[in-house]
């Protein structure tokens, strides 16, 4: 890739940029990294202001939240290609969602097109200050990796602080998640999307007063202090199986038909469409472009693993698992559930007891991964019959052999972060 000219950068910033590009190229070539973090780190060490300088004058959109960041970032990038042209949107598609990854994406991008970055929840406040985004998409907030970050409420407060100062930013926020509403509530311009929220256990305590949020049957919620669900500007209806429709308060409605499955992905797409619209792309054209996306970093692909067609899915926390279990149930194909507890996953898998594995009763289930024994005990108390096979590829093989699907449906594989990637490398 030819490095674009970078007028207006200081000598120091140019050195930092050159170092970033050189190290990224080396790391990609020798295969020690995906070439997105090492170079970025070096660049930031030489010039701590590099990120802000690289982003200056560009159209930047940020996507953050506990679940759906990578998918929504991808969908929004594809939508922006409608006017920017294929390949001209700069994005951190490998999911390196902290400043070194952002530097690497900007340094490597060969165009002056729009920038769409997935941002780690904790880095969102600093990223808003540094990158002056035109749009920020806020998906949801829930517990994740409890042995590292255990204060989602505090995160919402920090979002709120950072967005209060972002006068030129349009925030696209999930009106159904009280923590997101609190985080976005200080922003000058917010488009509220009723994007749904299946997991509510982290949203019961009111972020505004420490009182209690009460949820109504129709999705409305409120606290006695007056903090309540804002009237949505956009909402999603589900007219049929696997199909959705987004409706605007001005009467417009557009079909949401994606190649990737699930209610949560349709919600991600609508959030991305609203963000695209804030950047000048009509929502219907944005949604049309998103329909072509059939995988996101391996998620929702159906490769053959150990001779068995297998649909690969990633869930990192109870909220994510609840969505995917709802996606695969009801059904009768075998389900392989995989859990590791490396640093990237969080060392403590106690959260498995917050996942509604009871949904899998009656299904053929194989527990696998480095923490398959924690999973097997969890499934025992969920009264889900299962087998336990430590090696995840072998587990898929067992699932395919013992329960061949006569309808040609693939085995469903759901793994947490490193367990998913272990299997992905066997595609």
């Amino acid at each position: 890739m030819t490095a674009p000219p970078t007028p207006g950068l200081s000598a120091r910033a140019r050195v930092a940029l050159t170092a970033t590009r050189a190290l990224n190229a080396v790391s990609r070539r020798v295969g020690i990294g995906s070439g997105t973090v090492i170079g970025g780190r070096a660049g930031l060490a030489i010039d701590p202001g590099l990120l802000g300088r690289l982003a200056a004058g560009r159209t930047v959109a940020l996507v953050s939240g506990t679940n759906g960041k990578t998918t929504t970032t991808r969908l929004l990038a594809v939508a922006l290609e409608v006017s920017a042209g294929a390949g001209s949107v700069i994005t951190n598609s490998t999911g390196s969602n902290m400043p070194p990854g952002h530097v690497a994406a900007l340094a490597g991008g060969g165009s002056d097109g729009p920038v769409v970055l997935e941002v780690d929840e904790g880095y969102l406040p600093a990223s808003v200050t540094t990158l002056h985004p035109r749009v920020v998409v806020l998906l949801n907030l829930s517990r994740d990796q409890l042995d590292r970050t255990n204060e989602v409420r505090m995160l919402a407060g920090r979002w709120r602080g950072a967005l209060a100062g972002a006068m030129d930013t349009t925030v696209v926020a999930n009106a159904d998640d009280p923590l997101v509403v609190f985080g976005a509530g200080s922003a000058a311009r917010v488009v509220w999307v009723a994007a749904g929220m299946r997991w509510r256990a982290d949203a019961v305590g009111c972020p505004a007063c420490e009182g209690r949020i009460v949820f109504g049957a129709d999705g409305a919620w409120s606290c006695s202090c007056g903090f309540s669900r804002p009237a949505p500007d956009v909402w999603i209806t589900e007219p049929g199986e696997g199909d959705g429709e987004a409706e605007w308060t001005d009467g417009r409605h557009h079909r949401v038909a994606l190649s990737i499955p699930g209610r949560f992905n349709r919600a991600n797409a609508v959030m991305a469409a609203v963000a695209a619209e804030a950047l000048g792309i009509p929502a219907d054209r944005a949604l049309g472009a998103m329909a072509t996306v059939d995988e996101v970093a391996g998620r929702f692909t159906t490769p053959v693993i150990a001779g068995v067609p297998t649909r690969l899915m990633l869930a990192k926390n109870p909220a994510g698992w609840a969505e995917l279990l709802a996606l695969v149930c009801p059904g009768d194909s075998p389900v392989v559930v995989a859990i590791n507890a490396r640093v990237a996953d969080g060392r403590d898998p106690s959260w498995l007891w917050d996942v509604p594995f009871e949904d899998l009763r009656g299904r053929p289930v194989v527990a696998t991964g480095e923490r398959c024994l924690d999973l097997s005990v969890r499934l025992r108390y969920a009264e889900v019959e299962h087998q336990t096979v430590r090696d995840s590829v072998a587990a898929v093989g067992v699932a395919g052999e013992e329960w061949p699907s006569d309808a040609g449906r693939p085995v469903e594989f759901i793994g947490n972060y490193t367990a998913f990637h272990d299997v992905l490398t066997h595609r």
Binding site: D147, R153, A201, S350, W353, D354, D374, S376, R378, Y381
Partner: protein, 250 residues
């Protein structure tokens, strides 16, 4: 146990449920049901009164919710009354601190607990205690001898035991109370820092609590705990391996 079914009450899962703690109550309820002991699993959220119960489970929580839970449980009064008439309490992590006489709020200031256990918790000086715990149970827990305890701790508090309690166990890996001991017990109230959830990783402890709650002096009928035993032995091996190699592995 009064009435027809054993009442297992999860106390304020909306405030004290941060670490999959609802699992402890689920383990108790299933292990009772598998033995044909009639059992009722009740989730008592913080917007209503705490119901009468035979066995109360308090879990972990963040600082703010912990303070609110302690205030609400105190003003509700049901648990303290029930313990007076023989109810069993399993209190884990933040719940353990709440069951004690005092614990620190987010600002470090001491807050009153329920006084069910003669322990006081203060903010620790060092970093949070996070990681696998192995602890050897001490005598005096009852007629049933417990095997080695395994769990995962994640807390910033140091808990000092008064003369009114006995420690549950002596830690061989991890921090526990902070002085080499882990957990505390007074009568039928048992506090511990162990997550996992603790009863999933230590089914013998679950059965001890159940036998207290149903007033059984005989050991309960054995269950097929092959999966729990496999998990226990893997966790214990993982800890001894990490000590041997000097690396944190799990």
């Amino acid at each position: 146990m009064s009435g027809s079914a054993l009442r297992v009450v999860v106390v304020y899962p909306d405030l004290l449920g941060t670490y999959g703690d609802g699992g402890n109550a689920l383990v108790l309820a299933r292990r009772a049901a598998w033995r044909d002991i009639p059992v009722q699993l009740i989730e008592a959220t913080s917007d209503g009164p705490i119901p009468e119960g035979d066995l109360y489970c308090l879990g972990g929580g963040e600082d703010g919710p912990q303070v609110r839970a302690a205030e609400a449980i105190r003003s509700d009064g049901t648990i303290v009354r029930a313990v007076g008439s023989g109810a069993v309490v399993l209190a884990v992590c933040a719940g353990y601190q709440i069951a004690g006489r005092s614990f620190p709020g987010a600002d470090g200031r001491a807050r009153p607990g329920l006084g069910l256990l003669d322990v006081d918790t203060v903010k620790g000086e060092g970093p949070r205690s996070v990681g696998e715990v192995v602890a050897e149970p001490l005598d005096g827990l009852g007629d049933i001898a417990l095997p080695t305890l395994t769990g995962f701790e994640n807390h910033g508090g140091v808990t000092r035991l008064g003369p009114g309690v006995v420690a549950l166990a002596r830690v061989t890996t991890g921090n526990g109370n902070g002085d080499g001991s882990e957990g505390a017990r007074a009568g039928r109230v048992l506090g511990t820092y162990l997550h996992g959830p603790v009863l999933a990783r230590n089914p013998a402890l679950a059965d001890l609590l159940l036998s207290w709650a149903i007033g059984s002096t005989e050991p309960l009928a054995a269950l097929d705990d092959g999966e729990e035993e496999a998990l226990r032995s893997e966790r214990l091996h993982a800890v001894s391996r990490s000590r041997f190699t000097g690396r944190a592995r799990s």
